[in-house]
Amino acid sequence: MDFFDDTIIDIQQLTFSRGERVIYNNVDIKIPRGKITAIMGPSGTGKTTLLKLIGGQIKPDSGSILLDGDDIPRLGRKQLFNVREKMGMLFQSGALFTDMTVFENVAFPIRIHTDLPDDMIRDVVLMKLQAVGLRGASRLMPSELSGGMARRVALARAIALDPQLVMYDEPFTGQDPIAMGVLVNLIKRLNNALGHTSIIVSHDIQETLGIADYIYLIADSKVIAQGTPEELKHVVSSQVRQFMEGLPDGPVPFHFPADDYYTDLMKGHG
């Protein structure tokens, strides 16, 4: 089966730079609908930036980002806020609103975008919290949650409106093995059960390979490899191998560019 018969996002010739630094140089990325797509690559390659570009929080220098035909960088402010109803995003820190309870955090998007009566909102929120296993924590404040729990609450909030697209920004970073396993499972299960599309930005190779249907590997402002997890295991490029196998030195050097070691040391001795 071809993944790309039905794409939800079609990024064409995307170029984005921050000051002098080019983050993306003429990149094409397609996200298949209903699948889990992973965007992987070393830290600092702008993976999170890609999610912000898709969310319309920043605008590219050139190129288009089509979400179901809407070109996100060219949408007006109002249309953009409407399109965002189709998206849910899980931020790295969870980004729960610290002045609201867990319940209110999950209820927030529902209250904003619907006119549902309170008892119905309550049902929906409890269902979402049940899905992430935290119905019992609904009265707690975000400061009372562990990191893993906060991320699960944030996940419940991200899927509160049943979005078509859920974006995960480094969902596994800084989680203990149990919380990590829980999250991996949840992402996979929710994707299958709710039928939305997931984009995971991550550099946790094993976890991501385990659940992703398709993977883009990004480095040096471009896509250096793409394919299913199985296909990526067989790519021979040394750059890809270095990342996939976590080798300390290779095309991505261990040392930050510097003067010759010997000359640098001798400088201190007149």
Binding site: Q92, A95, T98, R157
Partner: protein, 263 residues
């Protein structure tokens, strides 16, 4: 020669930097405030912020107002008693408070108490991605976070300044009448005769209103535009207090010149 060119270039880039910051601050305020009103959603948010920004500032305002009024009464008495005109203490206390001290000192205290808190709160919301996540949920943080905080400060400051004046005058009376024994009738009568509602009270309130705009605008802008790190937030908080204090004093001179300059 090169040093000179660098210096001129430095001035130029600094000016451009400041101008663009001013533009950004203007845009933020415009985008936050110019919108179709949605009272059902924004009213509860405003009330909440009025509590945090206004009500919680009451204690510092009342205590400072009381002491400043008492000091004014004491100082005024020691000067005026030499001329045998200590009955004018009431008039002096009331005029200096209503015209000048109440709006200015309230604004300075407000910048330190509420402005810094607003900046730190908004900056931390930015650092913890709460503003971004609100945007992704489809809610404009300028409307939801910035607007109610701005209005709360704008509304609170004149009210706080009025309370400051009232408490200060009472403090002046405690010292002048109850302690130093000025005749109560002339204390109040002199005050009533000399304080004009429009020239003094309304002008003082206009000052407080302008300071409310300036201080709260600086506070929300510094928070929203802060660098989302611990260092960035601490710098933004400092800037809020320093810039708003300087702005209040500078604007006060301009307003005073406009209001009372032709006397």
């Amino acid at each position: 020669m090169k040093a000179l060119i660098d210096w001129v270039q430095g001035i130029g880039s600094d000016t451009l930097h400041r101008l663009s910051a001013l533009g950004r601050a203007g845009l933020i305020l415009a985008q936050a405030l110019i919108a179709r009103p949605t009272p059902a959603q924004s009213f509860p948010l405003l009330i909440r912020q009025l509590y945090f920004v206004g009500v919680l500032s009451l204690i510092i305002i009342v205590v400072s107002g009381l002491f400043i009024g008492m000091v004014l009464g004491l100082q005024g008495y020691t000067i005026l008693v030499d001329y045998g005109s200590e009955q004018a203490v009431g008039q002096m206390v009331a005029l200096s408070l209503v015209r000048e001290l109440a709006p200015v000192v309230t604004a300075l205290l407000f910048a330190g108490r509420a402005g810094s808190a607003l900046t730190a709160e908004i900056g931390l919301m930015k650092a913890t991605e709460q503003l971004s996540s609100m945007e992704m949920i489809g809610v404009d943080p300028l409307r939801r976070i910035i607007a109610p905080r701005f209005w709360a400060g704008f509304i609170s400051l004149p009210i706080l300044a009025m309370i400051f004046s009232a408490v200060g005058i009472w403090g002046g009376m405690l010292v002048g009448v109850d302690w130093l024994g000025i005749y109560e009738g002339s204390f109040w009568a002199n005050m009533q005769n000399s304080v004009d509602f429009f020239d003094d009270v309304v002008n003082g309130l206009i000052k407080a209103q302008v300071f409310g705009l300036v201080v709260t605008w600086i506070a929300v802008y510094q928070g929203y535009d802060s660098v989302p790190t611990s260092e960035g937030i601490s710098q933004a908080t400092t800037k809020t207090v320093v810039y708003s204090s300087l702005a209040v004093l500078g604007v006060d001179f301009i307003l005073t010149a406009l209001m009372f300059g032709d006397l």
